[in-house]
Symmetry: C2
Subunit: 335 residues, 2 copies
DNA sequence: GTTCAATACTGAAACGTTTCAGCTATAATT
DNA sequence: AATTATAGCTGAAACGTTTCAGTATTGAAC
């Protein structure tokens, strides 16, 4: 019935190898995955032939039968395009996936509905694991994925009493350290331009900021109407206003490089000079800052490593590792 | 034999709908894709039920049967991580793929072997179409994909007499315009920091540069030992050397924002002042530049649009459009 | 020399889809 | 009235994999 496979065109399948070895398809399948009850000699022979013909399991076949997609997906966030975060993050994920059977698919965002991509992934079963960023303390995506039994890892923590893999930068320590550095430069009127409210690291950043202020006996300058997600020109305008006050801040902490540039520009607009009238501390993930604005004090955050971490964690969770062990908080360099 | 599907768990399949409508599976399949020989009433009924139960075709099933993967893949390039190109490009691709059946997968690079990812994609049939960047005049990837009948689109042109979809920025026009702008500022000793040799747009950029020089009767300053791919500190050092010459350039054209910063820094190291002693023209794809170094003259290149374009082109080619019509050369803004 | 167990293998079914080759009414043609 | 065409539907096979339920063969145990 089934035509002999010696003449078959297209990539080799289990059938090809079965034909070449004279074995049954099921035997070949088992031999290749070191299943039980296969003779050592047979196993070796099958593997040899498989290697010679360049056999690669057909992903669709595996996926259809087992339900395993061999896909990890990273969910896009609106607005991450220009920030430099995403490139590095994806390169990191790609680093971790190279050499595994996993492919990386990028899931688009849906404007105004952060849950939509998550639901799509779960409903269509399009991935074995999910990587997402910009977590909130009470994050519906985390709840949903957990309820659906879909492994995931986040860039950023949550506060739901749910144990899940995450990679996070210790923004509390960052903000504290930032205050310390500014104080070391003699700055005493310190403002914070932090992440948008709602995100977990907004909380952490503010906590560290407050703790820093307290520990040096200072009171900070609130910047409640603007955050690092705002368009650069808005940040610049806000900075300009700030600089025009009778007692402008002489130290600014900024949670993103991009906006630190805007702040610097806004202060410059008012004739204030960085290093003389004020200083800025920001995060950076590239050598660009050092080149560009060496006057801005930089504390490094490595997004590529974050990508590598989250990807490894998801794969480990899928493989059965207890998610409780898959958590990493990166401490910023101090001094 | 087959258990009635009313109680089935998991996502709905054709069988579910077949059971609910009382029709056969094949009828449902045809009805959903507007196949021939299905009554209008039946078709409507099937579609209604399908929508109600939230039917989504199982990708693995389709892929196994038809060989169509519904995947477009973008190939990573080593070193694109920090450049800002990649984020924007992927967001653009994602824009174009949203609402279609295509998923975007990111194929990792293999260090030292640009062909490896391409071969992998073709051999494993893991995508219906490929997007790649950084083309060379004689590009083996293009030759290979064409030989294997795999649709693709490039960011950048080739010169092999092969017609294929591409999106490209007219770097010849860019360089010419850049010279003109510098000349308009009174600059006469103009240097070019261009793309690495080997890439097609290296050629274009140099052509435009030469043409610009000729048309203003100038002779350019060659920068043959360094290009925009070099580490920023190397660029800065090279710029410093350049600035230390007895007759340093007073105009620099730079094919990437990042390195334009390094050039500015290198010249500043030698005490030269931008706007007074020299000017820089570069490409930019963000508002950052304007904020940061308004003194640097910027000509916009939109990478997100490039992503949208290449993705649309690949899909069109897959759908049967003549690739000859799928080419776009974007002219830089002039004035 | 029958029974039992272990070893090494095999066939068939199933995952969800598409598609080919029918099949059955009804309508149109002669 | 018999034939044929057609519209509208259906069953079965196939894509490549995994896995369940066997089946020979061998060797040991009684």
């Amino acid at each position: 019935m089934d035509n002999s496979d010696s003449t078959s065109k297209g990539p080799p399948t289990l059938k090809t190898i079965a034909f070449m070895t004279g074995l049954g398809i099921s035997t070949v399948s088992r031999a290749l995955k070191d299943g039980p009850e296969i003779g050592a000699a047979t196993r070796a022979r099958v593997k040899l032939i498989a290697a010679q013909v360049g056999y690669r399991p057909n992903r669709a076949g595996v996926r259809l039968k087992t339900g395993k997609t061999n896909v990890i997906t990273v969910v896009l966030n609106p607005g991450d395009d220009g920030s430099g975060f995403f490139s590095n993050f994806v390169y990191g994920i790609s680093d971790a996936l190279t050499g595994t059977s996993y492919h990386l698919v990028v899931t688009p965002y849906a404007l105004g509905d952060a849950m939509a991509p998550i639901r799509y992934i779960a409903e269509t079963g399009s991935a074995d694991g999910v990587i997402m960023s910009r977590t909130q303390p009470d994050d519906p995506r985390v709840r949903y994925l957990l309820a659906h039994g879909l492994p995931f890892a986040t860039h950023g923590r949550t506060e739901m009493g749910i144990v899940h893999p995450f990679h996070d930068f210790d923004n509390e320590a960052f903000a504290f350290e930032a205050v310390s550095r500014l104080v070391a430069k003699g700055r005493r009127r310190i403002a914070l331009l932090g992440p948008p409210p709602g995100l977990t690291y907004h909380k952490h950043t503010h906590l560290g900021f407050e703790r820093g202020l307290r520990s040096w006996g200072l009171s900070g300058i609130p910047l409640s109407s603007i955050d690092i997600d705002a368009p650069l020109w808005d940040v610049r305008a806000a900075a300009r206003e700030l600089a025009a006050r009778s007692d402008p801040p002489d130290g600014i902490i900024c949670s993103a490089v991009r906006s630190s540039f805007a702040v610097a520009a806004g202060f410059a607009d008012q004739g204030l000079s960085i290093g003389r009238d004020f200083d800025i501390v920001t995060k950076h993930s590239t050598d660009l800052l050092e080149m560009l604005r060496p006057e801005i004090i930089a504390i490094a955050e490595d997004f590529r490593e974050a990508g590598r971490d989250t990807a490894s964690m998801v794969m480990a969770w899928i493989a059965g590792t207890d998610p409780a062990g898959l958590q990493r908080l990166v401490t910023p360099e101090t001094s």
